[in-house]
């Protein structure tokens, strides 16, 4: 169905070439939006859409871009897309736009975008760039969701805002872990994910 190369481009970033745990990109926003699952999910989707679209646009115009100002052109494309997405959200999904608030604008500074534009879109055709953008966006979303799942579950006893740990646990002396709500904990969890990921992949290789 999909050629090997296409598969690698789309699915590679989910595991072997994950933007967060292998390329170590986009860590900053992974810290900020992972206290709860819902903003992490929405952020993951927003980044996926914007990486994919900017990858395609930059790929289409890659041969016309003057090399000396390519970073500026990439930034203009990304900034325009982020502004468009935030305008559309404000008009049609106001609640979501409010929930994402500043993080939406901060997608512009997400290193994954610039990283993928420079490393992939500038040298590949539009279709591959689309797949690469989708793959990397989803790979980023995956890590965000894993970290947010752990942080919301142990930090607040909830998932997506619903109480999942039974009240009887609290009555028996269980307490939410306040450390989980600290940004530092996201870094530690990302570290744990990287550890598990490397350990697993090394085993696979042998």
């Amino acid at each position: 169905m999909l050629s090997q190369k296409t598969k690698d481009t789309l699915l590679g970033p989910l595991n072997a070439n994950n933007p967060v745990v292998v390329q170590i990109l986009g860590i900053c926003s992974a810290l900020a939006v992972t206290v709860q699952l819902k903003p992490a999910l929405v952020m993951g989707i927003a980044v996926t859409i914007i990486v994919a679209m900017s990858n395609v646009i930059v790929s289409l115009i890659r041969n016309t871009i003057p090399m000396r100002v390519r970073i500026i052109v990439q930034l203009v494309v990304v900034a325009a897309l982020v502004t468009l997405v935030s305008e559309v959200l404000k008009a049609f999904a106001y609640d979501v736009a409010m929930q994402l608030s500043v993080y939406l604008g901060l997608i512009i500074t997400n290193c994954i975008l610039m990283g993928r534009l420079e490393a992939f879109a500038m040298t590949n055709n539009a279709w591959d760039s689309l797949l690469d953008g989708l793959g990397n966006g989803l790979g980023y979303a995956l890590i965000l969701v894993i970290v947010a799942f752990v942080r919301e579950l142990f930090g607040a006893g909830q998932l997506l805002g619903f109480q999942v740990l039974p009240q009887s646990w609290y009555a028996a002396g269980y307490e939410n872990n306040g450390m989980m709500l600290m940004p530092a904990m996201a870094l530690i969890l990302v570290g744990c994910v990287i550890w598990a990921h490397r350990a697993y992949n090394d085993k696979e290789k042998k």
């Binding site: 090399m67 203009v76 305008e87």
Partner: protein, 223 residues
């Protein structure tokens, strides 16, 4: 002929064209969506005011806009401050819009006062970008409900606002509510916002003629 994409003139023209295209695109989209965005902003404000009046938005009998228009029937202006006057089953409630600073950006809210301009009926907060799970909790019911029934005046009838303090701390000469744990700066922001707005910015509105206020106090002491 192959175009030299690295020449100065090409670079200059290219950037100009790109920026103009993007600028026109964004301007068109922004102005095309403006009516929708404005409607959303207005609706959001109306919903927040309804929240401050302690309506549960999920169980309204009509849509929020209709409900809002049926309740809020007057606006008082004091300098650049506005106070909305709502009529809740014959009781007058004043709604004071609030603005302040949190940890990452602006915070705001609406404070509904009873007719005595002292007892808090309800309050609603919003924020631009406080940390989800921490500072963002100021919008949640658990935090807001603490304010209900609190008084913004002290025994001498001076406006002193309500303090937001960590559990265990005791406010000096005013009533207090518990801060959101783990969100010290956002909580302080709420406290400061309330104090600044009530004591300074709404001073003109909150001045109560002494005689009228005496009567209110007498009634209270008789209770």
């Amino acid at each position: 002929m192959k175009l030299n994409t690295n020449s100065n003139i090409y670079t200059f023209v290219y950037m100009t064209v790109v920026v103009v295209i993007v600028a026109v695109l964004l301007a068109v989209v922004s102005s095309a969506l403006k009516p929708l965005k404005d409607a959303n902003v207005l609706l959001d404000k109306q919903k927040q005011i309804l929240g401050a009046l302690k309506f549960d938005l999920d169980s309204l009998d009509t849509d929020p806009a209709t409900k809002y228009l049926s309740l809020v029937n007057d606006t008082l202006t004091f300098g650049d401050k506005e106070v909305y006057v709502a009529n809740l089953d014959g009781e007058v409630k004043y709604i004071l819009p609030l603005e302040g600073k949190g940890l990452w950006g602006g915070i705001g809210g609406y404070l509904a006062l009873d007719e005595d301009k002292n007892t808090i009926w309800g309050v609603n907060f919003n924020h631009e970008g406080e940390t989800p799970g921490l500072g963002a909790k100021i919008v949640e019911k658990e935090f807001r409900a603490q304010f209900e029934g609190k008084h913004i005046r002290n025994a001498e009838n001076e406006v002193v606002s309500v303090a937001v303090l960590k559990k265990g701390k005791i406010a000096d000469g005013k009533e207090q509510v518990d801060a959101v744990s783990g969100a010290t700066i956002t909580s302080e922001g709420v406290s400061t916002m309330l104090a600044t707005e009530l004591i300074t910015n709404y001073a003109e509105f909150l001045i109560v003629e002494p005689i009228e206020e005496k009567e209110v106090e007498d009634v209270e002491s008789e209770d």
